[in-house]
Each structure stands twice: as C-alpha cells, then as structure tokens.
C-alpha cells in the first residue's frame, strides 16, 4: 500500500469520520433536548409504577441487557433471539477492539488467546444474530413491508464488517498488537502514525475503512437508537405519583334522622 493511500485511509478518513460522527451526534442530541414539550401532559410514562430514578434505571437495564419487552411477542421469536445474539456479539467485539488501545496487564499470548476465543465467539454470535435478523426482514412479509433502503444499508454494512472481522480473527490472525494497535493508539492520542499499517492485509484495510464510514453514518440513520432511548420520556421520566389522602375531614358528613346534611360547612 502506498503512503498516500495509507494516509487517506488511516489518517484522513478516521479523523473525518470521527468529526462527522461528533457533529451529527451532538446535533441529534441537541434536537432532542430542545424539544421540551410532552404533548401537554405532566408525564407520558408507560411502564407501570416507575416512580423513582431507581425503577427507571432498572427498567432501562432490563431493556438493554434482557430485551425484556420482546418476549411478550407471541409467534415471533426471531426478533429476540436475533437481537440478543447480535447485540451481545457486537458489545463483546467492541470491548475487544477497546483492548487494542487500553493497555492491559496481561501477556501478549494471553491477549491473543482471548482475542481468538472470546473475540471469535462474539463475532460468530453477532454473525448468526444479524443473519437471523436479516432473514426475518426479508422473509416475514409484514416486516419486509416496513423495510427501506436505510435498513438494508445498515444491515449490509454490519454484515460486511462482521464477516471481515471474523475472517481476521479466525482465519488470517494478523499480528494486530504490533500493527493495528499502535496505529489506533496514535489516532486516539492525536499523533497519527501509520508506519505499522502499510503492510496490513487488504481484509484489515477494508474492515477499517468500512468501520469509519459506518461510524460517520451512525448519527444520520437508525443506528442512533444506541443512545436515542436514553432521551425517550416514556421510559426515562418518572410517572406522576398521586397523593393519597386519608384525612378525617373527608369523612365529616353525618346524616341525622331527618336526612339533613350536617357538615360544619353547611351550618355556616
């Protein structure tokens, strides 16, 4: 790979992508925060009994880690199975990628082993998950009817990223610790250094290129759901709690034999 191409792919593209991502991300979040209304209602909470911050956090955690609302769907198990395999696979893969820039107190051999087994399992899980979700989108008529170009774009990108990632982890097994890792660290530390990247395999280069294109796309498409739910008032704002009264004043009504009202106020 020549130096110009390497500079474009490994310096220009990453920084442009991150810049686009940040600007888009901040713009989206600002647009949510600036929408203050709740269709004239005090609260729009939808989950029963969410009166405290704790109950909100608990509910959100159940949504993120258990997808707990989805099992309620009878007759359509593919969504929850696909979603769990895919999302957990992606999360563990991303943790693995993070380990390339965060120095770990483990030996290189151990790191490589974890990358192979855990990274490989995570990648396979994500791969199976996205295949299930993609098949569901194409096969189930009612879901196909609500699918558009952006859905197919996101799925294709993710599928390509997962396949390329898995190819590296399971088949090519490149020496990422002395190639990708130093470069990625240099990018994060704002002192880009691409010397270690000129010899990486095309698979790695394409994986990285697609990854940054995808990162730049995140704020503009449905992938923004990774943060959007945190701003959704139906599940992040507490419900309005009714004040129950048990005051004796409420029970002052006495009825005498003639059937006259005999409350304090009526006598005045």
């Amino acid at each position: 790979m020549n130096n110009l191409l390497a500079s474009i792919l490994f310096i220009f593209l990453p920084y442009s992508a991150i810049a686009i991502f940040l600007v888009g991300f901040i713009y989206r979040i600002a647009s949510w925060i600036s929408a203050k209304g709740l269709t004239e209602l005090k609260t729009v909470a939808i989950v029963p009994g969410t009166f405290s911050l704790f109950s909100i956090v608990k509910d959100l955690a159940k949504r993120v880690f258990l997808f707990y609302t989805l099992p309620k769907m009878e007759k359509d198990r593919t969504l929850i199975v696909g979603s769990i395999l895919f999302h957990y696979g992606i999360w563990f893969s991303l943790l693995g990628h993070l380990a390339m820039v965060v120095p770990l107190p483990v030996s290189i051999q151990f790191h490589m082993m974890v990358a192979l087994y855990m990274g490989g399992s995570a990648g396979i899980s994500a791969f199976i998950g996205i295949l299930i979700l993609a098949a569901r989108r194409l096969q189930v008529k009612k879901v196909r009817r609500i699918s558009y170009l952006d859905d197919y774009f996101a799925i294709s990108m993710l599928l390509a990223l997962i396949i390329l990632g898995l190819t590296q982890t399971l088949y090519i097994r490149p020496d990422f610790i002395s190639t990708v890792s130093p470069w990625l660290t240099s990018i994060v530390e704002f002192r880009p250094e691409i010397a270690t990247m000129t010899q990486v395999s095309p698979v790695t280069a394409i994986h990285i290129t697609l990854a940054f294109v995808f990162i730049a796309y995140i704020p503009f498409g449905k992938i923004i759901h990774i943060v959007a739910y945190l701003f959704q008032p139906t599940i992040t704002k507490t419900s309005f709690k009714i004040k129950r009264f048990k005051e004796t004043e409420a029970y002052m009504l006495r009825i005498d034999e003639e059937g006259e009202h005999n409350t304090a106020r009526n006598r005045v």
Binding site: L41, V44, P48
Partner: protein, 467 residues
C-alpha cells in the same frame, strides 16, 4: 347477515375504506371559538400540514423521539390490536408513523434523492387523506409503546397528528360533537342539569329499594370533595353510579355531584391539546367555585389519563388534590370501613380486563384488583393482563357508528381471551370499554354462540356492600 344497509364492509389487509365522517365547518368553527383558534386562510393544505407537523415534532420530545428513534424492527406489529386484527400495514404503529415520516422525508435531501426507497411519500391531497383515514383508526391504547424496546408510543404521535388535522379543519364528527357537548353543557352526553338530578334521584330510590339505605347525595353543594364520573354513568351505567353513591354513603364521605361538569371523560386527549386543557381547566374551575378540597374520578380509562396527567397537577397548583374512587375503596376495605359480602356476586365466571389507560401509564393496576378480590369470591385475570391488556376496540374516540364493523374486529382479541378462560362476565371499569362492549358484544356473542356479559367494578362493589 344482520347489518344496517350502509355498513362498510371489513376487508382484511386493507382498511382504507373505513374513513371517519368529518365534522362540518359549523361544528369545527364552534370548537375553534371555544379555544380561540383561528384557521390560517388561503394556505395550501398540504404545506400547512407539513409545516405544523414539523413544528409539533420539534416541540414535543415524546413525539420527536418517536419519529427519530424507530428502527423498524416490527415488534409493535405483534402488539397492536389494530394491526393484529386487520393486517393492514398502515393500520399499525410503525405503518401509521411511516405515513408521517414519509411526508417529512420527502422534504429532506435523502428523500429527494432516494424517494420511495427510503420511504418518502409524495406530498399531495391523497397522501393527506391516507393520514386522516388511518390516524382515525388508531385506538391510542399505548400497547405499542409498552412493547417497543425504545418506548415509542404511537398514541402520542396520533394525538399530535390529529391535532394538526384539527387545526386544518379536519376532525371526526363523533369526537367533535362530544367535545362540543362537554364544553357547552359540562358533559359528553349533553344531559341537562334536570336530567342529571333525576338520574341521581332515580339511583337514590333504587338504592333505598334494593339495599334499604337512604343515601342523600349532594348536588352542586359545598363539600369536601367533588365527584366526577363519566357522564355515561348517568345514562347507561346506572349500576356503576349506584355503586359510587352507596360506597360514599357507607364510608360517610362528604362529596357532591356537580351538574356544571358531570364528566370525567376528556376527548381533548384524543384529538387536540387545546381542548384537553379547556376541558381540564373547567374541572379545576368548577372545583374552585364549589370550594372543595379534592376531586374524585369515576370509572373511565382515558379520562383517568387526562385527569392524572393534566387535571391533578393543575389541582395541586391550587392546593387541591385528586384521586380515583378506587383509591378510596381500597383504603376503606383496608381500614374495614365497609362490610362486604362477596357471595352476593356469585354466579358468573369473572374475568378482569384492565382498561388501557389504567394499566399503561395510569398506575391503576393493583387497586382495582385489591377491590375486586374483596367483592367477588373469585375472578381470573385475562390471559393478556395488566400492562399487556387489550384495548376494548373503542378507544381513541372511535366509538362512532361508521367504524362499528372495524371496532367489532378490534374487539376480537379481548373477547377471545375472555372466552378462552371460560369467562362469562368481563369486568372493565371504563366508560368507553362499556360503550364499546354494549355495541359489539351482541354481534360477537351471536357469532361465537356465547353469552358473555360485562360490567364495571363499582357495580360489583354495590352488590357486595352490606349496609
């Protein structure tokens, strides 16, 4: 088949033929006058619609997130009673929202380039007609929001879009008549004060006859609390009315009826926030005029949502409080203020079905159950219970005649649930549920050869109370 001559035929997969009848200009203008709204003249309808939708989406975070954050996973398709019974994509949460997303998309760059491929919809009178037809097929039951992993609640999108349609002069005749009635007379049924009084007296006499108890209800008099049931309880749900009256009497509760606002329902919630406030503020004002300290709500699901999330916060600002009658019944049972004999209700096989707006956001799930378990010997929860409850099929202001065949389809879900557990009597403490059941049960019972009956909860409290 026993149908009225002009009844619209239900077609599975395409419900575009169920268009609501629209209010005429005179009716709309009367509503505009009430809330001081003026229609922007001479503006292109399509432009007006898109502009106003954009403004409302920008203003309301729940709607903004609903439009922005959907990943089109289709979970709501399996949750929505209108989609499950009709299989028309536009008659589903995501499909309904896409009618709007599509119009907004067509004004954006991606929509201009990729057009239909990204779901962009051409802006014209036809696409606007689709919006009004399908937005008046939504039950606003919030079941989609409950199952959506991101909590996207189409009900509030529906409310917003209907509000924009209303500002253009388009509102279903049924909801417009109801809103007009309550704003003119203080109740949805336009019952005059004399009629309300005679109904209350009639109920009083029946209580004396059946229970041997002389209850003396106050009407428009000072009291500790003002009680507002849905006006249907003065008209068709007299057993429920008797339940409130005998209960309040039994605990010695100092309350008054009011003829000035004898209505818990608030159809402003379904269609337009200006009227939601107008109707809600009237409740607060009547309460202040009467000098009460609290306002008690009767059995009405959507009315409770409006009451809990608009009226009570307004009451609290004035130092008043608001409660549901079930809160009081629960307290009374707990402190043994009333004596109950559950055997009085023996006979039917009871199935409790939560009204949508009690269960989803109303936080009124355990209270009715705790009451119920004290007034009947046994009852079952419906297979889809609590926050998973099915809408009766008449929510969202869809109780009109022209939608009856559609509503009957919507009703299948809860009906089959009740039958499947051997129920002979469903309990739905909500005026809209009761009205919808009174319209659809004869048809469904005939079709399934069953004799399913229904009632509210206070009806059963009435029978169980031992004076």
């Amino acid at each position: 088949m026993n149908t009225i001559p002009h009844e619209i035929e239900f077609r599975k997969g395409d419900t575009s033929n169920f268009e609501s009848l629209w209010a005429d200009e005179k009716l709309v203008n009367a509503l505009y006058d009430k809330v001081g709204h003026t229609q922007t003249p001479n503006q292109n309808q399509v432009d007006f619609f898109v502009e106003n939708v954009k403004r409302e989406v920008k203003r309301n975070r729940n709607v903004k997130l609903a439009i922005d954050a959907c990943v089109h996973c289709g979970a709501c398709l399996n949750a929505c009673p209108t989609f499950l019974t009709t299989e028309d994509t536009y008659n589903s949460p995501v499909g309904r929202a896409d009618l709007i997303r599509g119009l907004l998309k067509s004004t954006k760059l991606s929509g201009k380039i990729f057009k239909k491929a990204v779901g962009a919809r051409e802006l014209n009178n036809k696409s606007l007609e689709d919006v009004s037809t399908y937005y008046y097929q939504c039950l606003e039951c919030r079941r989609c929001g409950e199952i959506c992993p991101f909590g996207i609640d189409q009900a509030d999108v529906t409310r917003t879009i209907r509000s924009v349609l209303y500002d253009m002069g388009k509102i279903s005749r049924y909801t417009a008549v109801v809103i007009g009635n309550v704003e003119r007379t203080g109740n949805n049924m336009a019952l005059p004060p004399a009629a309300l009084k005679s109904t209350i007296e009639f109920a009083r006499d029946e209580i004396l006859e059946e229970k041997g108890v002389k209850v003396i209800p106050k009407i428009d008099q000072p009291a500790y609390a003002m009680f507002i049931p849905p006006s249907a309880d003065f008209f068709s749900n007299i057993e429920t009315l008797k339940g409130y009256m005998l209960f309040f009497h039994s605990i010695g509760f100092d309350y008054t009826f009011t003829t000035k606002h004898a209505e818990l329902a608030n159809f402003g919630l379904f269609t337009d926030a200006k009227h939601l406030r107008e109707i809600g503020n009237h409740v607060v004002n009547v309460a202040l005029e009467l000098g009460v300290k609290a306002v008690i709500a009767g059995e009405c699901g959507h009315g409770w949502r409006a009451f809990k999330n608009y009226v009570i916060p307004e009451l609290e600002k004035k130092g008043l409080s608001g409660l549901h009658v079930f809160h009081l019944v629960e307290d009374a049972i707990e402190s043994a203020k009333i004596k109950l004999e559950p055997k009085n209700n023996d006979g039917p096989s009871y199935v409790y079905q939560d009204p949508c707006n009690y269960a989803r956001g109303g936080d009124l799930i355990d209270e009715p159950r705790s009451v119920l378990s004290s007034v009947v010997s046994s009852y079952q929860n419906s297979p889809h219970s609590r926050e998973r409850t099915w809408c009766c099929g008449g929510g969202g202001g869809l109780l009109s005649d022209e939608l009856l065949p559609l509503r009957t389809e919507y009703a299948k879900l809860w009906y089959e649930d009740a039958i499947s557990v051997g129920g002979t009597h469903v309990i739905r403490p909500c005026a809209i549920c009761k009205a919808q059941l009174s319209h659809t049960l004869p048809r469904l019972n005939k079709k399934h050869d069953q004799a399913l009956a229904y009632s509210g909860l206070m009806d059963l409290v009435y029978k169980a109370i031992v004076p």
